[in-house]
């Protein structure tokens, strides 16, 4: 799947899961996906200055009935930890966290961030799934949103280059 169809698949998956409110901060690997979100008139898109404010913005939107997702790099997930703990977890507020997995195996940058991402998610008790196949993206998003709503907790989906259409899926090699 190329970058453009991968981005469309993810946005269609989000909409099919009922999500219509997305807070974002750019990463070069998310550029095409961000274009897709920006162009979608059915989605309230909130471009952020720092990811932690996005956790608050999504929490507020949830409290008035919106279904939200926050899209960021794993560095932004680290930036957001106090808000995730003392707002999302403390108040039992669901939120789909779409986290670009910088420092994933094979990447040349951010190896330390890559090494800390899953351990920090586990330490916070946040259920997560590493997405490696573009074809499964829509269904994984739908299931993750069901889990977030039912558990009333954040759920994280780690976006790899494969699911963003930026690298071949291992199974296809």
């Amino acid at each position: 799947m190329n970058e453009e169809s991968a981005a469309q698949t993810i946005v269609n998956g989000l909409k099919a899961a009922g999500i219509d409110f997305i807070a974002t901060l750019p990463d070069i690997n998310l550029a095409r996906l961000l274009d897709e979100i920006e162009q979608d008139a059915a989605v309230t898109h909130v471009p952020l200055c720092r990811e932690e404010e996005g956790i608050g913005i999504c929490a507020g939107a949830y409290l008035v009935g919106r279904k939200c997702a926050a899209l960021m790099q794993n560095g932004g997930f680290f930036n957001s930890n106090n808000a995730i703990v003392s707002t999302l977890l403390q108040y039992q507020i669901p939120l789909l966290l779409l986290i670009y997995y910088a420092g994933d195996i094979g990447d040349r940058t951010f190896a330390t961030s890559g090494a800390m991402t899953e351990p920090v998610l586990r330490a916070l008790g946040i259920r997560y799934y590493v997405m490696r196949q573009a074809g499964e993206a829509a269904e994984v998003i739908k299931r993750a949103q069901v889990l977030a709503e039912d558990s009333k907790r954040p759920v994280a989906l780690l976006l790899t280059k494969e699911v963003l259409g930026l690298r071949s899926e291992l199974a296809s090699l």
Binding site: V46, C49, E53, G56, G60, Y62, L63
Partner: protein, 201 residues
């Protein structure tokens, strides 16, 4: 100027606005003046303005008021350019600036050394940002802010004088449920979804 007097002036014009308040004395005093399920207490220092922005964007026809403090806003200054960028017409952002971290031992904040948060808000792009210099001016400015298109940012320099108030009656989770039920009822919408057990299908 006492924060309590400003809050009384706000209560006179707040009607059905959703109120988001930064944890500490502001929340307790507001709850003492206008208790109710349309109040949401924020626990994460800094997030008051962002949670209020999310509500304002999520429910654009309903007035949302943020009751922020200087310590809180200084921690999340980037919420100001985001508010300016999103331009929510229904958001009224009130700043009570007492120049100290009141809930954390009253150490001085940067506003005590001259940082002008109304100036910061204006420079971030929020045109309707101004100081209210007396309780009367505050009352007049919030009344106008409740009626006209925002985003509004109203700063008030207040003393650290406290008023005797009851403790906050709810923990975080009950606050959330009551707030959401209040929104469901007053907006006539359904937010919580539940399913019948599988055996009913």
């Amino acid at each position: 100027m006492k924060r309590f007097d400003c809050l009384k002036a706000l209560a006179a014009v707040a009607q059905d606005a959703l109120i988001v308040s930064s944890a500490g004395a502001t929340t307790l005093e507001w709850n003492g003046i206008r208790p109710g399920d349309g109040n949401f207490r924020v626990r994460t220092l800094g997030l008051c303005s962002s949670i209020a922005l999310g509500m304002a964007l999520g429910l654009p026809h309903r007035r949302v008021v943020a009751l922020d403090g200087d310590g809180s806003l200084l921690m999340n200054l980037c919420s100001l350019p985001t508010i300016a960028r999103m331009k929510p017409k229904n958001l009224l952002h009130v700043l009570f600036d007492n120049e100290v971290y009141e809930a954390s031992g009253s150490k001085k904040t940067a506003t005590a050394a001259g940082t002008d948060l109304v100036g910061v808000a204006r420079a971030a792009g929020i045109e309707k940002a101004r100081w209210a210099k007396s309780v009367e001016e505050f009352a007049q400015t919030v009344a106008e802010g409740m009626k006209s298109d925002g985003p509004h940012f109203i700063g008030a320099k207040v003393t650290t004088a406290r008023t005797e108030v009851p403790p906050y009656p709810l923990d975080e989770v009950e606050n959330k449920y009551r707030f959401i039920r209040h929104v469901e009822k007053t907006e006539n919408i359904k937010i919580f979804q539940t399913n019948l057990p599988a055996s009913y299908k």
